[in-house]
Amino acid sequence: MTTETATRGRRRGRVALRRSVTGWSFILPNFLGFGLLTLVPVVALFYIAFTSWNAFGTAPFVGLDNFRRLVGDGSFHVALLNTLYYSALHIPLTLGLALGLAVLLNTKLRGVAFFRTAAFFPYITSIVAIAAVWNMLYSPEVGPINQVLTSIGVDDPPGWTTSAQWSMPAVIVVGVWREMGYYMILFLAGLQTIPRELYEAARVDGASAWQRFRNVTLPGLRPTTFFVVVILTIGSLKVFDLILVLTDGGPGRSTLVLSQYIFQKGFEEYQFGYASAISIVLFLLCVLVTVVQFVINRRRDA
């Protein structure tokens, strides 16, 4: 009896081992790259942030100096506020429009595939091309947007990307336009999982379209919405390429965001220690927001 159990136990152990080896071997190629190219640098970052490393030679340890400097650094404050400004508008607008588009394009419509593709197109277009085209549209004197505005009676149309007041809204518009197609696809996938019977039952009960949307669609999309919000938030907080090619942080510092400030301090001014410290702040910001979102989500689930 006992020997039999032991043998079975050993066999089960061997099977478990073989299974985990198989599992590991499947993720190994990806994990190796991730570990070497992402994980190691990220771990190193946490050390570099406490040094004054300038790319050459040794990295002198400076304790909390870099973080103390952050507290009094005006440009860091500007970059942080601009990042929050961007996120505060970009997240709800993208979320709302992506959801709206998804609901609209989930109906049986002639040419729906065309419209879905059209909405997704900006996301797969080269960002440099997007920036060039939008900058032309935004051009204060010769751009089509301001020509339309002038023709409908706006006397003093905004300078868009060439004005410190309007550059951030201009960037947000392009950001929303570019990303809503991607999140629309996620919402479309989510909509397919909501059982048709629920809509039928709601209709039998006499629910209006709006009531069906609020009480069937939205709850059904909860897992998708949560995922979209988390990804969208992280993406907004670390926005970089779009701003770099569209305004390069200007005019002045009006669209300077954290990622770009990190790039500037690190790769233009070679203050890698200080740049790493800012990266840690951005990292903690992302972690904090994500944890809060998870907590809220769990509380709602309960």
Binding site: N54, A55, F56, G57, G72, D73, G74, S75, A132, N135, M136, Y138, S139, P140, E141, V142, G143, G159, W160, T161, T162, S163, A164, Q165, D248, G249, G250, P251, G252, R253, S254, L256, Q264, F267, E268, E269, Y270
Partner: protein, 432 residues
Amino acid sequence: MKRSTTIAVGVVTAAALALAGCGGGDDAAAPADGPVTLTLAGWSLSTTPEFQTLADAYHEVDPDVTIEVQEYDATNYDTQMTTDLAAGTAPDLYVQKNLKNFYTYQSGAQLADLSEVASTYDDSTAGLDFYAVDDGTYAIPYRQDAWYVYYNKDLFAQAGVPEPTGEWTWDDYAQTALDLQAGLDAAGSDAHGAYQHTWQSTVQGFALAQTPGADLASGDYSYMEPYYERSLRLQDEGAQVGFGTATTSSLTYQTEFGTQQAAMMPMGSWYVATLLAQQESGEADEFSWGIAPAPQYDDSTFDAPVTFADPTGIGLNPAVDDAKRAAAEDFLAFVGGEEAALALAEIGITPAYTSDAVTEAFFGLEGVPTDDLSRFTFAESEARPENPVSVSTTVVQNILGEAHTEIMSESSPVDPVLEEAGSRVESEAPTS
């Protein structure tokens, strides 16, 4: 002429590469007086032939030494070089693309002291002083650009405005731009009086080089104010394309001047070779043009017009071994001299070394305007550095770059922006 030069360069390049292939094998064991192969960093080799020109010219002087040019990306040159230096894989010799990052390399102990090489040069080689730190010299300049005013003689004639005299203050320049605009409008032309590119140096570089007492590290930038007021006036009165239009439409200065959209334009001397090439290829229109000295702060400097531009120099990687080091120093003793200067002038580069022979070689290029004013401009312009070497230069230039976009986009008035830039420099720029 031009095409045959290109072919010649190509043939020599191929020969050099073949030789490099032969010589590469016994590289490590080579004695100091045997064949040596050195590596030199450059960028955009197909459009920037100067590195290969230097390498070939030196190979003719000393056939034992072969110089292989390694290509880097032009925009990310300094980032890539920093990475390679930190990793210990950088070439033996590397070009200092501008003075802005020179401090980073020098203070990071990535440049060998070349004082002995520097002592072989005299005053004819401009820009050596800019690479001097404490008692050492850390790079040898082979090229010294300078900013001129390029002007389109045809458009001046069309507008009925007299051509530059070589004795212009900035007020004369601004007035001429306005006159040109009026004349061109009257003649029914779409061209603008002037074009000012979007770079901060188009205003700040001149202001720093020309204003007495101006100091980039000081935190006091009020000296830039008159320069900005003039630029803003020209853009407000429509005599030059507005900053917003230039940035949003991604205008290039090559197109603006080369396709006769503007009658004159301040630009660096590198544009001479580009404009010649583009006129030949058809990218630029055929028209008659000339170069005039940069407009001056006042009339006291008309005989030796003050302008700006950083030198381009070559530094030595301190990690090279002794056998290579001797050969590299000999090469560096060559690049700032007359022979190298002649080879560079023949491909339209403005060498650091100046002499009558070099001027002749430069104006021997086909298509270069050979009038007296152009010759005077090339020979007599005195270029001061755009980025004086200091610990704070990169940070200060970034802050001033942001001030530039804020002022030129007319988001805020000039004075408060310059004052804010000053107080930012005091709080953000490193002092040691």
